[in-house]
């Protein structure tokens, strides 16, 4: 082989060498994320003895498991739309405030609430409103609202929805603040110099620029809420019919014989829904960053 004319094989070896340092990371992700995921996907189509079957999918999409999906989707829809609106308002209020102190506090606190404390937050709410004599229950009774008399407790769907807001709103604030910061002051000044009123600025400039970020963030919230487990588990001791809780119950040993792999079918369903949501999120995010450079 002539020197200076590396063969195909040699350049392939060069490329392999260039990629080699990424091998540990790639191997780790493949082994500890990829393999388990593939196992879930394959297992969803296997019966107890490893033969192909669609029975798991059928079971996962009927009866109480179908209800689990319905509840999860309904909960996540609420937990996407309400925190998106409220979080956007909070983010805008923080964005328009002078100085960086409030902003830094809000960002850090939002990070703690949305990323690191699903279980702990459940306990905050149990202490606040979890019983007839809890502080907030007392306050509400003083103004004439008898929560427990009406059968509303923190341990039901409504309660879980209330507590989820506690990490969903901060998550929205975290993801939407950069979008507000991408709105340049010069755009507003230009609009005002052209005679636009405040609502006209928002109607024709602000909202259109923010729209991809807003929609994308809403989808992110949707996915985040679907995959949440700790808060609902801690609040309801695993009794609420949400898909993530039902998947967990397969690992807690509550399995009917012959249904061992239904949990994997549920997991597959959840991953498919979240993956679809996140794909749209990524597309929207890409569109949004056009303006945020």
């Amino acid at each position: 082989m002539a020197r200076g004319h590396p063969s195909r094989g040699a350049s392939g070896a060069l490329a392999a060498k260039a990629w080699a340092p990424l091998a540990p990371f790639g191997a780790w992700m493949a082994l500890f994320l990829g393999v388990p995921l593939v196992a879930v996907c394959i297992g969803a189509f296997e019966n107890g003895s490893g033969a192909f079957t669609l029975a798991n999918l059928r079971a996962a999409t009927s009866g109480s498991y179908l209800r689990g999906f319905e509840n999860s989707l309904e909960l996540s829809l609420i937990e996407a739309v309400v925190p998106a609106i409220f979080g956007m308002l909070v983010a805008y209020a923080v964005h328009t405030s002078r100085g960086t102190f409030l902003r830094r506090m809000v960002v850090t606190t939002s990070g703690v609430f949305s990323q690191f404390g699903g279980l702990q937050l459940a306990f905050l709410f149990i202490a606040a409103i979890g019983g007839q004599t809890a502080l907030v229950s007392n306050w509400l009774r003083d103004i004439g609202i008898h929560l427990y008399g009406n059968g509303i407790t923190i341990y039901t769907f409504a309660g879980v929805a209330l507590v989820y807001l506690y990490f969903q709103v901060p998550l929205m604030v975290l993801v939407i603040l950069p979008a507000f910061e991408g709105l340049r002051a010069s755009w507003r000044e230009a609009a005002e110099n052209l005679g636009a009123r405040s609502w006209e600025y928002w109607r024709y400039v602000g909202v259109p620029v923010l729209m991809p970020s807003l929609l994308g963030s809403t989808l992110l919230l949707f996915g985040f809420s679907l995959s949440a487990y700790a808060t609902a588990e801690a609040l309801t001791s695993g009794t609420i019919a949400l898909t993530s809780i039902q998947i967990g119950s397969f690992l807690n040993g509550n399995v009917i014989a012959g249904q061992e792999n239904v949990g994997k079918a549920l997991a597959l369903g959840l991953v498919v829904i979240i993956a679809a949501t996140m794909s749209v999120y990524v597309l929207l995010q890409r569109r949004a960053t056009r303006w945020l450079r």
Binding site: W19, P21, L22, P24, F25, M29, L33, V35, P36, L37, V38, A39, V40, F86, L89, Y92, A93, V94, T96, R104, V107, T108, T109, G111, V112, Q115, F116, G117, G118, L119, Q120, F123, L124, F125, A127, A128, L135, V136, L165, V169, V175, E192, N193, G195, A196, R197, L226, S227, A230, E233, S244, I247, G248, N252, K264, A267, L270, V271, I274, M278
Partner: protein, 292 residues
């Protein structure tokens, strides 16, 4: 129209103030707006911040009050003082600490060289890395642990080792963003060329040039990983390990006041550390740590 007409209070003026320079079109909009120290006051802003503040502070306050009512005789901090001597607390905290140390160590060993190498040699791969590193967000932890327990060898199941390996995966999105931002803020090529032309080998270049420049990024990645490990409940409980969060959950059956105190404490400690790191990152002129 003068400031003296204002009857709403000494500091609230109706009239000029506001943004300098925006005199033409903005003049029309100013009518009816309130000003405070030359700044427009927006009532909705206060309303939003007040509602948000109430929603987020009331449960914290209530939980704090609840944790103070530990022994039923008035208020005391005993729930916090006694925390250390509660059944199972010390082993749980120790297990969580070990997991945090091991997972963070592995995380840094895995991600720091990867981040440096990608920026230095394979910038084209950055997009792919952004995608791959966000996959752990897409996969719910409960699904991941289900898959892991389905394929893990029997020896690893229901052990903390399994958790440590998986926590490295869970922390990848957070650590990648911190490290990526840290490397991006550096002029890696110039630093490397300078070091190499002065005779530094690769080891010297990485250890004595690049790493010291990435201090804050590495600290951010460390803190985020530790916070994640100390707060993670789903995988730990389904892998049957009694870490700090699972202990909080289990112990709530025995004494709710102690569990609430532990939950408060862990949130507070996480918050304080993150405030510290973000202040450090801010002072060094970098962007704040990216959490999402």
């Amino acid at each position: 129209m003068s400031a003296g007409v204002s009857v709403t209070g000494p500091e609230v003026l109706s009239g000029p103030g506001g943004l300098p320079g925006a005199t033409t079109a903005a003049g029309r909009h100013r009518k009816g707006l309130l000003y405070w120290r030359g700044r427009r006051l927006r009532p909705w802003r206060f309303a939003v911040l007040a509602v948000a503040g109430a929603y987020f502070l009331v449960p914290l306050w209530a939980a704090f009050r609840f944790s103070l009512a530990y022994n039923g005789t008035g208020w005391s901090l005993e729930a916090y003082v006694d925390l250390g001597s509660q059944q199972g607390f010390a082993p749980a905290i120790w297990l969580s600490a070990q997991l945090a140390i091991v997972a963070t160590g592995l995380e840094l060993v895995l991600m720091v060289p990867t981040a440096i190498y990608v920026h230095l040699r394979l910038p084209k791969v950055k997009r792919v890395m952004d995608f791959v590193t966000s996959l752990p967000i897409v996969v719910p932890p409960v699904v991941l642990i289900l898959g892991v327990l389905a394929v893990a060898p029997e020896k690893l199941k229901a052990t903390p080792f399994l958790l440590a390996l998986e926590y490295v995966v869970l922390a990848v999105p957070l650590s990648w963003r911190a490290l990526d931002a840290g490397v991006r803020a550096l002029d890696v090529h110039t630093l490397v060329d300078a070091s190499r032309s002065l005779g530094g080998g690769w080891a010297v270049t990485v250890l004595r040039v690049l790493l010291p420049n990435m201090r804050v990024a590495i600290l951010s990645a460390t803190v985020l990983t530790v916070a994640l490990v100390l707060g993670e409940f789903t995988m730990a409980s389904l892998d049957l390990q009694q870490t700090f969060p699972t202990w909080i959950y289990v112990y709530s059956q025995s004494n709710g006041h102690v569990s609430v105190a532990a939950a408060m404490l862990s949130l507070f400690v996480t918050w304080v550390v993150l405030v510290g790191v973000s202040a450090l990152a801010g002072r060094r002129g970098g962007r704040e740590i990216a959490l999402v």
